[in-house]
């Protein structure tokens, strides 16, 4: 039991050291900075945004202030229905984070567990699981998400489920191949001959070598999830009640913002998505150098 507690402390220390190493990379630092900005936006949305995202802004005579260009009064202008774009961007950060983080977490957990089990136990368990993963790989991602959202109904949770249910396949494959190569290493044999059971080997010996790559794909998953949600919302398969950047673009597109030259509606949501996804990629560069020291250059 003492050994188990030790192992947990070791893993925690290793995790902390990894995090510090991760953020040594200049890009990772930049990514973190951007992410913090958006986090603040998301958490303090009601305080930062001048209006609610659904609120229709009207002038003194009750007329909607639609299509206002960006000015001192409305930082990013208004939509066709007189809603504040800046406010929508701020509130949109909440949706992005919620969906991105939750989906990524599910992806990481499912993918890692399945990959670990499949890779470690091998044999028929591995065969069956890998057949299943091949099957999952054959399902077209976006169309399936569309179908699932139609079947389950359009809500944020269903979007998260629709994304996670397929996205884990990538993580699973990668984790499994990592486990396969680690399984043959001497330290596993040593542990086994010392009498360690399967569970112990998996969680105490293999896990510390697995979690960097698991984390890497988890970070990727955040970006992919946000991009997918944007796509789904744009097509009309998102949550009709939430405020998301993808939905903003859908509204813009449907109300002919392109031909009407309403650039202040088209650019900001996309830029916001680019920034937040980019920050995850930047952070992942930091992790990649932990996973693969050969890449360390700057």
């Amino acid at each position: 039991m003492e050994g188990n507690k030790n192992a947990v402390i070791q893993t925690a220390l290793a995790l902390w050291a990894t995090l510090r190493l991760m953020f040594r990379h200049p890009l990772a630092k930049a990514g973190l900075a951007i992410l913090i900005v958006f986090t603040v936006m998301a958490v303090f949305a009601p305080l930062i945004a001048p209006y609610h995202h659904d609120e229709i802004i009207s002038d003194s005579s009750g007329r909607w202030l639609s299509y206002q260009k960006p000015a001192a009064k409305f930082w990013l202008g208004t939509t066709d229905m007189g809603r504040g774009i800046f406010s929508q961007i701020v509130y949109g950060a909440r949706t992005a984070f919620m969906i991105g983080l939750l989906a990524a977490l599910m992806v990481m957990v499912i993918g890692t567990v399945v990959g670990l089990v499949s890779g470690y136990f091998g044999g028929w368990i591995d065969q069956i699981i890998m057949r299943f993963v091949d099957f999952v790989y054959g399902i077209p991602f976006l169309p399936f998400a569309m179908v699932l959202v139609t079947v389950l109904g359009g809500s944020r949770w269903n979007v998260i489920i629709a994304i996670s249910v397929l996205l884990w396949r990538e993580t699973c494959r990668v984790v499994r191949s990592q486990v396969l190569s680690l399984k043959e290493r001497p330290f596993v044999e040593v542990a086994r001959s010392a009498g360690a059971g399967d569970l112990r080997i998996i969680f105490v010996h293999l896990a510390p070598n697995i979690y960097p790559i698991s984390l890497l794909y988890g970070v990727f998953a955040v970006g992919w999830a946000i991009l997918t949600e944007a796509g789904l919302s744009f097509l009309g398969f998102g949550d009709p009640n939430s405020c998301s950047w993808g939905k903003m673009l859908q509204m813009a597109y449907l109300s002919q913002a392109l031909s009407q030259g309403v650039w202040w509606w088209i650019f900001p949501p996309g830029i916001a998505i680019v920034l937040i996804v980019m920050s995850t990629y930047f952070i992942s560069q930091g992790i990649e150098e932990v996973v693969n020291p050969k890449l360390r250059n700057w």
Partner: protein, 325 residues
């Protein structure tokens, strides 16, 4: 004949996966809101047409019989009648499929060509500011939603500058004579540019990153050093030894990327009103044209499996070690 066994095993495997997918599609579409018979029957159909369909698909029979009939109908290519087009769903889907293929395959081929070249360039310029700039640019492009890039291009080049058309595959009211005529006409190409470039912006990212990291790894290998020691010349070392092995992961990524590109094309086709299978799927889902939606989904799934299979074959051909496993 290791090779033959390897190929046939993979083939059977893929067929098996496809069958599993068919079953999956069968059940998941049944879960759509509304009456399951709405999957095949629209209230607007004539009474005898409804009868016909009921019989073919066994809509009044128990579930397992419906499944059996379903499989048979798939083999026959019979997927019901589209509610919107009033044509067999299969025909509708295949017509749109060609449009998607032209766009997608062209986009992926160009993306990978450009991507490999840029990736090699970045690997050559290792450690310079140029490389850093290149990497950051690639990451930015990969962070931009592909449909948003399309919107931006549309806005700038179609609506502001009027250089390119605002969407669809042809001017309204115009039709192309045949497939070949269409593909070779200026008008088609004119309409193709913006959606093509939009897709390329996103999809070039992966080959650039993959090529670069692959080359950087391979160049350190002992056999590359040995090749240099043999005095065969720097260029030959690069092409015959470095690139040949480095390109392996890129080639396999290419095969699977085409599968993913079909999905990406969904978004592009909607933005540009390009009449492809992706847009068809969206419209049919939103418009409850279930026969078409089902079949479109099935075709997309078949494409994914096919592409994964081709990727496996390609990899085995390029790296003889794989076949031994």
């Amino acid at each position: 004949m290791n090779v033959l066994r390897f190929f046939s095993r993979r083939l059977f495997h893929s067929i098996f996966v496809f069958l599993a997918l068919l079953t999956f599609i069968f059940f998941i579409f049944r879960l759509m809101p509304g009456d399951p018979t709405a999957l095949f029957i629209s209230p607007e159909m004539a009474a005898d047409a409804i009868q016909e369909i009921q019989k073919t698909f066994g809509l009044d029979r128990p579930l397992y019989i419906q499944y059996f009939l379903y499989v048979i109908n798939v083999c026959r290519g019979n997927f019901g009648i589209s509610y919107y087009f009033f044509e067999p769903a299969s025909r509708v889907v295949f017509e749109h499929l060609w449009n998607t293929l032209v766009l997608t395959i062209t986009a992926m081929c160009l993306s990978y060509l450009v991507g490999v070249l840029v990736g090699t360039l970045l690997a050559w310029k290792r450690g310079t500011l140029f490389e850093l700039g290149g990497m950051v640019s690639v990451l930015i492009l990969r962070s931009a939603p592909v449909f948003w890039v399309g919107l931006i291009f549309l806005y700038i080049f179609a609506f502001k500058l009027h250089i390119f058309p605002g969407g669809s595959m042809a001017e309204t009211g115009e039709f192309y004579g045949g497939f070949l005529e269409m593909v070779l006409s200026w008008e088609f190409l004119h309409h193709l540019v913006l959606p093509l470039v939009s897709m390329m912006c996103y999809f070039s990212g992966l080959p650039v990153l993959l090529t670069r990291s692959s080359i950087l790894e391979v160049i350190k290998e002992d056999y590359v050093e040995m090749a240099r020691a043999k005095g065969i010349g720097a260029r030959r070392v690069m092409f015959r030894h470095v690139t040949r092995t480095a390109i392996l992961p890129v080639v396999t990524a290419f095969a699977t990327a085409i599968a993913y590109a079909f999905e990406g094309s969904v978004l592009i086709e909607v933005v540009f009103s390009w009449p492809g299978i992706g847009r068809l799927m969206v419209m049919s889902m939103l418009g409850n044209d279930y026969p078409v939606a089902q079949f479109a989904f099935m075709i997309l799934a078949a494409m994914m499996i096919l592409m994964n299979l081709l990727a496996d074959f390609l990899y085995a051909y390029l790296d003889p070690r794989v076949v031994v496993q």
